[in-house]
């Protein structure tokens, strides 16, 4: 490997190394407890790397005043539009659980794509709205650089369109299965070994891409859909981490699961079609790339896969020790 290529890869690694945390959803959680008919005690219960109270400011419905984390409302109680300033920057979404004294808990989700929640009192059905789940699904895949890199690796291995269709379908079916399994609580994989395994799946594709460049063959090159299915099962558990953090009530799980999965598919298909369109355009424009540029996506898959594998295995070992 030339010095130029090594420098290139180092720069790319430095730029993309933050993607190792791409799985972790920036979801803040707020708890609101009714302490009297007109008074509510609230606090952030779950935060990410930066405390939520530093970057998020709730704007309570008209008629409600906040003083030292106690919200005092008028006769109407806690009703009206709640917004949270700062959503969409450090935190992409916030979940608000309202514990009523004489009614079941209500859950609301506020995200950049759905920046307000309408609180309608204790009788509320507590639905965060289908748009929020769809949005979270798209967000999870768009920010999940590791998932997209795995899909890119598959695109680099697959030979023809029919095989591409089979491979992408196999990946979709597989991750849908484990996403459902994990969301319904049938199985659970701890985050540290899961993230290390997902990184390993990307690293696995690196040598396969090189084999394809050399004109060699292997089981993966002959049957990429089998590999896509097998590793898709792992990635599904990764997708589930995004949905699990919502802490959904049982009644909402089927709808949330469906819409979150559709969101993931929208993001994934947009990525695949984008790559295919660019590939077609380069062909039409008769682009003759230098070999280094031509192979850069393959090197990117292999090196980032190796980097994330090492990084996540270290995290795994630390958590075990």
């Amino acid at each position: 490997m030339s010095a130029g290529l090594r420098s290139w890869l180092l720069v790319v690694l430095a730029l993309l190394s933050s993607g190792a945390a791409a799985h972790e959803m920036s979801m803040a959680e707020m708890e609101v407890r009714q302490i009297s008919p007109r008074e509510f005690l609230w606090q952030w219960t779950v935060s990410g790397n930066r405390p939520a109270n530093e970057v998020l400011t709730p704007v309570w419905p008209d008629g409600c005043q906040d003083e030292d984390n106690i919200v005092r409302c008028g006769d109407a109680g806690l009703q009206g539009v709640l917004t949270i300033k700062g959503i969409g920057k450090v935190y992409s979404a916030a979940m608000i659980r309202v514990y009523w004294r004489d009614a079941p808990m209500s859950v609301y989700t506020i995200a950049a794509g759905q920046p307000r929640a309408r609180l309608s009192g204790p009788s509320d059905g507590a639905s965060p709205g289908p748009g929020a789940y769809l949005y979270l699904g798209i967000e999870h895949i768009m920010l999940g650089v590791d998932h997209l890199l795995f899909v890119l690796g598959l695109l680099l291995i697959v030979g023809d369109r029919w095989m591409l269709l089979k491979t992408i379908t196999a990946f979709t079916v597989a991750h849908s299965i484990t996403l459902a399994v994990a969301t319904f609580g049938i199985a659970h994989v701890p985050a540290a070994p899961l993230n290390a395994s997902i990184a390993l799946s990307i690293l696995f594709l690196g040598p396969e891409i090189v084999r394809r460049w050399r004109g060699e063959t292997s089981f993966t090159i002959r049957h990429p859909w089998v590999v896509a299915f097998a590793f898709g099962l792992l990635h599904g558990f990764g997708f589930a981490s995004g949905l699990a953090q919502l802490g959904l009530p049982d009644s909402q799980i089927p709808l949330a699961l469906l819409l979150f999965n559709i969101g993931v598919e929208i993001g994934q298909l947009a990525f695949v079609f984008g790559i295919l369109l660019l590939e077609r355009s380069f062909r039409l424009l008769e682009c003759h790339w230098p070999r280094l540029v031509e192979r850069l996506p393959g090197y990117l898959v292999g090196t980032l896969g190796a980097f994330w594998t090492i990084q996540r295995v270290v995290i795994l070992l630390r958590s075990v020790a």
């Binding site: 950049a112 660019l278 424009l285 008769e286």
Partner: protein, 201 residues
Amino acid sequence: MRRAVGTTLVALAAIVVASPAHAHLVETGFGAFYDGIAHFAVSLADMLIVIALALFAGLRGTRAARHAMFALPAAWLVGGALGALWPTASIWPVSTTLSLALTGALVALDAKLSDASVTAFVIVAGALYGFVNGATMTPGGAGGLALLGAVCAIFFVNTILAAEVTVLPVGWPRIAVRVAGSWIAATGMLMLGWLARPTLA
């Protein structure tokens, strides 16, 4: 029919002229890179000039389109970086609108410029729009990553559109492209008229 076309053009021109007024960055919630992509997608003036330049380069053939594929995003990036350094600079509405009208006219006329001239034109227009982009995005809270996102989106739209135009068969498909150019030119001229309005009053 003519009335409908006229109404559409006036509406389009009004929207394009109005776009700098809400130059704050779109917040997708996906981070600055995606915010930059979304900013480009909803900025009709930026989208129109990229479409016009892609059509123009595509009509001039594979070589010109290939050069434009690199020249436009690179010029936009450099212009954007300079604009970000001087965010208070004027947004030059007459210059940008003039370049839009001119690009539309070149597409409509199927002007037979040399590859080098096409590339030079693309660089000038791209740098001009990029500068305005950088100057308006920065006060809206955008950083380098947002500009990079916008430039990636421009690369994507320009490359795909120009490539598809290069393979259009001779006949009505190329005429349709020229008609689109005439619409862009008309929009640009209407915008110029709109911009001149306060001075006439």
